[in-house]
Symmetry: C2
Subunit: 177 residues, 2 copies
DNA sequence: CTTAGATTTCAGTCTTTCCTGAAATTAACG
DNA sequence: CGTTAATTTCAGGAAAGACTGAAATCTAAG
């Protein structure tokens, strides 16, 4: 028998808030609440306990945990002599943020980048679309390419470096002046 | 009579793509499609033309335009001797991006920041919640405060400075080493 | 003040997404 | 293998969200 995590008022409040924000974050309420519980829980939890804590169907937990795994926010562990799956969330908040940003870029930006590339190719043989509009698309493509390229560079900088840069705040501006 | 904008295959493709991405971007399809049309159109458009171009109800256009205005992505202009509202989208892609980021921060981050501040206050008189969990919340609060503070600083840097910094890419790292 | 075009509101309907519970599948153990 | 616990799948129902069209409201001009 596991210690499922005691639902104190504070924890409950957070779980409910996560759930309410779910819509804005583009995920379902269950997924958000499960993530809240796992993020806060010091110990990994089993699916049954999560269902119990949140009062949702066991199957729902299963599906939601799958989604959290595709987001790379939750992973499975095991306990010796217990064949049930134990789930744990990334605890490092920096890690959580960058993971979410990576995923969002992949889902929200990359497909549009691809569309714009396709349109740029088509533009050559397209004599219907006004130049002005083609240019706007080209500008957007160029901008997104530059932006994502920059993101990749920053993303790959070692964390201590990034931290130092961030702590400099707008004083980094002096570098370029 | 306005020139409503000719729906060339390229434009149609973009409009459809915007519409398909809508779900991932956290807005409705109509809103996304209307934004696509307005973003591409060299001229401001009236609501009726938008409804016609996209084949959606006039009332839907009205509501969606309101939402685009709350996002600060669309504004109203007028034409002399015509009392209809003409709608135009921000055309500067950099502007569009920062506007969206600002709004998203306001909707997706700020409420959680507030919750964490409230929880931090409560934590003092809360003897039920394990220290470990309170600490995790405190860490998250600290992180978000630092992150948003940094965002505000960068956000207020003049655009040319930001551009230069971006173009330096990961070479800015040398500054701190 | 009246009229007519323009816009918005909103109740009802449609669509999509989410969730449940039963049944099917998987996997460990004897 | 057969048994049993654990997990997943999925059809159907529930909830949430989006869209329509008619009616109400607004606004400019006569």
């Amino acid at each position: 028998m596991t210690t499922p995590l005691k639902m104190t008022p504070t924890i409950q409040r957070c779980v409910l808030h996560w759930g309410e924000m779910a819509g804005r974050w583009g995920i379902s309420r269950s997924v958000a609440q499960i993530h809240a519980v796992l993020f806060l829980s010091p110990e990994p939890l089993i699916a049954d306990d999560i269902a119990g804590l949140l009062g949702i169907a066991r199957s729902n937990v299963s599906v939601s945990l799958k989604e959290l795994q595709t987001w790379d926010l939750v992973s499975i562990t095991h306990v010796l002599g217990d064949r049930r799956d134990y789930f744990q969330a990334r605890k490092d908040i920096w890690d959580v943020l960058t993971t979410i940003m990576d995923q969002r870029k992949r889902r929200e930006i990359d497909p549009t980048l691809q569309l714009l590339r396709d349109c740029a190719v088509d533009a050559k043989r397209d004599h219907e679309t006004p130049e002005q509009i083609k240019e706007r698309l080209a500008t957007m493509l160029e901008f997104l390419e530059e932006m994502t390229g920059w993101y990749d560079q920053v993303r790959n900088m070692p964390r201590p470096t990034l931290l130092k840069l961030m702590r400099m705040g707008n004083r980094v501006a002096k570098v370029v002046s």
